[in-house]
């Protein structure tokens, strides 16, 4: 079942391109190609992007401008900021586990 997202995609938002499949923690999502990844995940109903290494608290995008690092996801073994990436077909995205173990 498609989760209901707190966010709504306007018609004009989908101009980014055709929908392409990406996986998020094993679930397949159809996201607009070329769209901002964090925005597309939020619109697709993803509510928790990562858990903090300290207390395991859930986090999701806070600043959308590459400054807060709360949108971190793991793609091909590399932890990256989802708000600084564009959607491409076939992205295999996972929740990162220990942000501190990742490259500084």
């Amino acid at each position: 079942m498609k989760p209901v997202s707190p966010f709504l995609e306007t018609e004009s938002g989908t101009e980014a391109g055709p929908r392409v499949p990406v996986s998020f923690d094993g679930r397949t999502l159809e996201l607009p190609e070329g769209a901002n990844l964090a925005a597309a995940l939020l619109a697709a109903g993803v509510q928790v992007f990562r858990r903090t290494p300290v207390s395991g608290a859930p986090r999701a995008p806070y600043c959308m401008m590459g400054a807060c690092f709360d949108c971190l996801v793991e793609i091909d073994g590399v932890v990256r900021q989802a708000c600084m990436i564009e959607v491409t077909g076939g992205l295999a995205i996972r929740r990162p586990h220990e942000a501190h173990d990742d490259p500084a």
């Binding site: 101009e15 619109a43 600043c63 400054a67």
Partner: protein, 463 residues
């Protein structure tokens, strides 16, 4: 590797205006920005979004297209999607782009890295569903994504702009929870010439408020005791306004109480900063051209102190004139002559800004959060822990790193630094200048070993 006359970091109004001006004077300019398209924060993605959402975003937004058009000329090389992670004296700009590291050599550097939204530590501000209001606006500008049930919390002209944009987009906020009081505006009006100087901004603000009122968005002013509630995500905002307790259920909370200079790049180069009392933030020490004490290093735009988009554009052009003069492309007389009208326009903008600063002060509860509130989002350090550090003799944010982990997470203090300075200053009864700030060291953004390896390969291939 070719050496450029000027490297500009940041393609917002300041960086774009500076690039066009410098190129017009004959400088070879490279403009670097981590965003895929030019615009900066105010004009984010303007070339694509203006056609799609121009009516929602408003006339001011459309003006950005004039600046992006100015980049399409000889002498400007715009490197988009490039994250600058180090700037070395001399100058060498190190960045990563599409998974590879690279560098640009330049004689001079202009930092035009803009502003960040002021940290707003409130109970519950780390919950999923809580974002900055600017983030909500970025979702709209760049992606056409709107929050269905959002509450806007805080103060400032940008809060009203975003509320009005949400109204125009057909998803008005459920409510505005405003932290400023009527007294703040009255004081700003009463200040010598305040209302007169700020009248354009005031009139614009009144227009926005009329749009918000027509959409019947409830406004709660003078709010205190604000907390975001929810199990695992934001579910409601609780506060008191005019003596009455409120709880508004929602899915999304947009926080905003002003913007502050993004100091990361400047501080990493050792640029001296001083506390600006009226704007409650640190600003770099510059001369009237945006020049730092380091030869060849300039700063323009909101990163030099908050002045707004129009002031940023003017500051970018002023810096470009001086940079061209230093590079021997403009005589000192011509430089001064061309600067004169810009200075007059700049004085008008900054006078209006002083009015806005007084009318919309930051939210006191978020400047001195309650003990239990998390201030460092990355390492989950609370205000009480920072106060505890002070009791053990901690005087400044840098030292705080020896007492706990505040500021040591991936955001490098971007969203806790000012709060930690304020908490330690208050606890130790010292000024913010005496208290200081985190020492910022490269990398400014995380770099992977793979990206570094790709850079080494390219360097070897070039030899």
């Amino acid at each position: 590797m070719t050496r450029r006359d000027l490297a500009i970091i940041g393609a917002g109004p300041a960086g774009m205006a500076a690039a066009a001006q410098a190129a017009a004077l004959g400088l070879a300019v490279t403009l670097v920005d981590e965003q895929p398209r030019p615009g900066g924060q105010i004009y984010r993605d303007v070339d694509r979004a203006v056609a799609l959402r121009g009516a929602i975003l408003g006339a001011d937004y459309g003006r950005g297209a004039r600046l992006t058009a100015g980049l399409r000329r000889d002498g400007i090389d715009h490197v988009a999607g490039a994250v600058v992670w180090a700037i070395e004296e001399g100058f060498s700009i190190l960045y990563t782009r599409e998974g590879r590291g690279a560098r640009i050599a330049a004689d001079r550097v202009l930092l035009a890295t803009g502003a960040l939204e002021r940290p707003m530590p409130l109970p519950g501000w780390t919950l999923p569903g809580v974002m900055t209001a600017g983030a909500g606006q970025i979702l709209l500008k760049q992606s056409g994504v709107l929050a269905r049930r959002a509450v806007l919390v805080g103060s400032g002209p940008l809060l009203y702009l975003i509320a009005a944009q949400m109204v125009r987009a057909g998803t008005p906020p459920l409510a505005l929870v405003e932290t400023q009081s009527r007294g703040d505006l009255a004081r700003a009006m009463g200040h010598a010439g305040g209302a007169l100087r700020g009248w354009r901004y005031l009139a614009k603000g009144l227009g926005l408020l009329a749009e918000i009122a027509r959409a019947r968005v409830p406004r709660h002013t003078g709010a205190t005791g604000i907390a975001i509630e929810g199990e695992g995500r934001a579910e409601a905002v609780r506060f008191t306004s005019r003596g009455r307790a409120h709880r508004i259920a929602c899915d999304t909370v947009f926080l905003h109480h002003g913007v502050v200079p993004n100091m990361q790049a400047a501080r990493s180069l050792g640029v001296a900063h001083r506390w600006h009392q009226a704007q409650a933030c640190f600003v770099p020490q510059l001369d009237g051209w945006g020049r730092t004490e380091m030869p060849g290093l300039f700063i323009a735009g909101d990163g030099a102190g908050i002045g707004g988009a129009a002031a940023a554009e003017i500051a970018g052009r002023l810096a470009a004139l001086k940079l061209a003069e230093e590079a021997g492309r403009l005589s000192p007389e011509a430089c001064d002559r061309q600067a004169r009208p810009l200075r007059a326009a700049q004085a008008r903008e900054l006078a209006a800004r002083a009015f806005l600063d007084r009318a919309y002060p930051p939210f006191a509860e978020a400047l001195a959060p309650a003990d239990a509130t998390v201030v460092c989002r990355c390492e989950e350090v609370t205000a009480g822990e920072i106060r505890g550090h002070a009791r053990l003799g901690c005087l400044g944010p840098n030292q705080a790193k020896a007492f706990g982990r505040a500021g040591m997470g991936p955001c490098q203090g971007r969203y806790c630094g000012l709060t930690v300075t304020a908490l330690l200053a208050e606890a130790n009864a010292r000024t913010p200048d005496e208290t200081g700030y985190y020492r910022i060291r490269p990398p400014l953004k995380p770099v992977t070993l793979g990206e570094l390896a790709a850079m080494e390969d390219a360097a070897e291939a070039a030899q």
